[in-house]
Symmetry: C2
Amino acid sequence: MSKRTVGIVLFPDAEELDWAGPWEVFTMAAMGQELDVVTIAETSEPIRCAKGLRVLPDHTFDDAPALDVVLVPGGQGSRSEMNNPAMLGFLQRVAPGCTWVTSVCTGSVVLAKAGLAKGCRITTHWGYIDEIRGHAGDSEVVENIRYVRDGKLVTAAGVSAGIDMSLWLVGQMFSPEHARQTQRFMQYDPVPPYAGDV
Amino acid sequence: MSKRTVGIVLFPDAEELDWAGPWEVFTMAAMGQELDVVTIAETSEPIRCAKGLRVLPDHTFDDAPALDVVLVPGGQGSRSEMNNPAMLGFLQRVAPGCTWVTSVCTGSVVLAKAGLAKGCRITTHWGYIDEIRGHAGDSEVVENIRYVRDGKLVTAAGVSAGIDMSLWLVGQMFSPEHARQTQRFMQYDPVPPYAGDV
């Protein structure tokens, strides 16, 4: 199988773990495999994320490689990106060539605004379920679920749910065994320390 | 209570999720609280992490603010940092003023080499338990645990374990209720999709 590429889209005020969780999963899964993982943004300027982390993207929308997987994170900045013609145009251009079109948190609104979730079941962060229903056209917004797959569209719930979604995708792209090994190298045996309701 | 500061130490080939997980936890916990979270590195140059992500640090060792919490991630680069006098000197300088001195993954070796884990119980990534025993002096290296607290020293297991440790610390620094709320905003109800042994 030829080399595949995962493209993680960055934008100002993207939520850090929304993209950093999937970045870790895919780059860990890439060890010993034919897989590249790159970050892509509108320009090559440093991106200031939602909580202040500053990151340098690997590619711009204009020089991005062909992608097999595209991932759109959420965060405060998704409110601007859902109306950014450069972002929507990039997603519309790359999605047809992708095997998987994915999002984390409110990134699903950006995919919907790009017309990539028509008639599909999607999800988002628990706090934005109602808001996204106003933006998602004829998409069906489902809740209380870590991630939803509808054809080649896979949308995850809030922030940390992107880790679970990405591990599931590694299982689809390679094998469940490879996903388990990736999970083991990340020592992803989570034990939230203060479990229970708020 | 006056404003507190969490300092996350970065270095070349630091493992991305080792520090990005705690970054998300602490910055999410900081919303509405008197808490700053900053990244600190030896120089202000972009840091290239273990899997290729490039990040701009907020401070250098020379201009870092006073810290209440210091966190040292792991990753391939910890092998160099455990012998880097600038890193060890920085940690030795800030640790006495910190309420919590913490690490993720092989970051515990760096703390040990800085002399900050003498006679303490510590942990690391499951794959480096034996290796760290050779570097950890009179520390007791324990395994099969998400994180270990010994006095003000808290060391986490591999990569994703830093998220659990950081949530526990938020509970200690603020309250279990605030940690639960942070966890809820991160939607940290993890469901690893391909559970089970490799």
